[in-house]
């Protein structure tokens, strides 16, 4: 089907969109936490995918290739938003905020949770992270990228990636522990 689409068959491409649209949308939503934005970006990703279909060599799966496209679009969008936003609160989080001084006392904040419940709590906790922390977590834990790959995509140093990932994880631990206490 990908081969057919590469030859210009729009019907085959439509079928690919129908098969994988949920996955692409889910990744956009993980990064943006905004349904409308995620929807628009996922559709933009498919348009870009069609335009660049000739460059797809089959080194990775088609869905992996498409996921990278939507991630890049989300990162561009987040950069635009960052420029338009006052970053005072996030700057504090960048330095670690409360988690910087917090001792590691949440050895297993998710113990005893059912899978569905765990997913919901992770989703709620992710929503409370800054864009930078969430993005680095999504790229590392969901997209399974290495530090240097994340640094290249986020256009920052490996040290920044390590630092963001560290604080993001500690914040997640704190949020999940808090959610468990609330639950």
């Amino acid at each position: 089907m990908v081969r057919m689409a590469q030859k210009g068959d729009l019907t085959s491409f439509e079928e690919l969109v129908a098969r994988h649209r949920d996955k692409i949308y889910a990744r956009a939503y993980s990064m943006m936490r905004h349904e409308e934005e995620a929807l628009d970006l996922s559709q933009d990703a498919w348009v870009k995918g069609w335009q660049r279909l000739g460059q797809f060599q089959g080194d990775s799966s088609f869905i992996t290739w498409m996921t990278r496209i939507v991630i890049n679009l989300c990162l561009d969008q987040l950069r635009k938003q960052k420029r338009q936003r006052a970053e005072s609160i996030e700057a504090m989080e960048e330095d670690g905020g409360v988690e910087r001084q917090m001792p590691a006392d949440n050895p297993n904040p998710t113990a005893g949770l059912e899978r569905v419940e765990l997913r919901e709590r992770i989703d709620r906790a992710l929503a409370q992270l800054s864009h930078e922390h969430r993005t680095v977590l999504v790229l590392h834990e969901f997209e399974e990228l290495e530090y240097k790959e994340i640094a290249a995509r986020m256009k920052c140093s490996i040290g920044t990636v390590m630092s963001r990932l560290f604080y993001a994880r500690r914040r997640m631990a704190s949020l999940l522990a808090g959610l468990r206490r609330e639950g």
């Binding site: 969109v17 349904e35 996922s42 498919w46 590691a104 006392d105 997913r119 630092s163």
Partner: protein
């Protein structure tokens, strides 16, 4: 614990350290309770998140979702086709206004010529053995045709002259 060490604990957890450094770090974490607690916390978050990405579902129907993608593909394909033909853009930018000015100039010139053209036209044509001269007087709405037979036979006989008034229907006068 220093922040650099915290980051090294994390890098060890993520398998980002070279083998020899990872070995040393593993030994140190096993001995240091604080490092071990940190590694356990980071590891739990990592493990908890594995495969737990929220399953997103597009709320729109397949057709509606696709229609926006298709529309954008077709729009951008159209833009690219135009971009691929720079002459088309130049034509639109420069030649279209020029063509408009030229057309306007033509209309003006024709109007001026029409107003200044003589009301008397003369057309002359010569055939083998016959010469025809046509006069047209627009103001008088009159056409006069002069025919002269130049054939050798005619040279022996006196020349014939035919004059016709054609613009007034039914008024044809032959003068011989």
């Amino acid at each position: 614990m220093k922040h650099e060490l915290e980051l090294k604990v994390q890098a060890w957890l993520d398998g980002e350290l070279p083998d020899h450094e990872a070995r040393r770090m593993g030994e140190w974490i096993a001995r240091d309770s604080e490092a071990a607690a940190l590694a356990a916390e980071l590891g739990c978050v990592r493990q908890a998140m594995f495969g737990q990405e929220a399953a997103g579902t597009v709320g729109e129907s397949r057709e509606f979702y696709w229609s926006k993608i298709q529309g954008q593909i077709q729009r951008e394909a159209g833009v690219r086709r135009t971009e691929g033909r720079p002459w088309a853009a130049r034509w639109r930018k420069y030649m279209a206004p020029l063509a408009g000015v030229a057309a306007l100039a033509c209309v003006l010139v024709m109007a001026v010529m029409r107003s200044e053209s003589p009301t008397f036209d003369e057309i002359s044509s010569t055939g083998e053995g016959m010469e025809a001269v046509t006069f047209h007087d627009q103001s008088a709405q009159m056409t006069v045709v002069w025919l002269q037979d130049n054939s050798p036979v005619a040279a022996i006989q006196p020349a014939q002259k035919n004059i016709r008034f054609e613009d007034e229907p039914g008024t044809v006068i032959d003068l011989q």
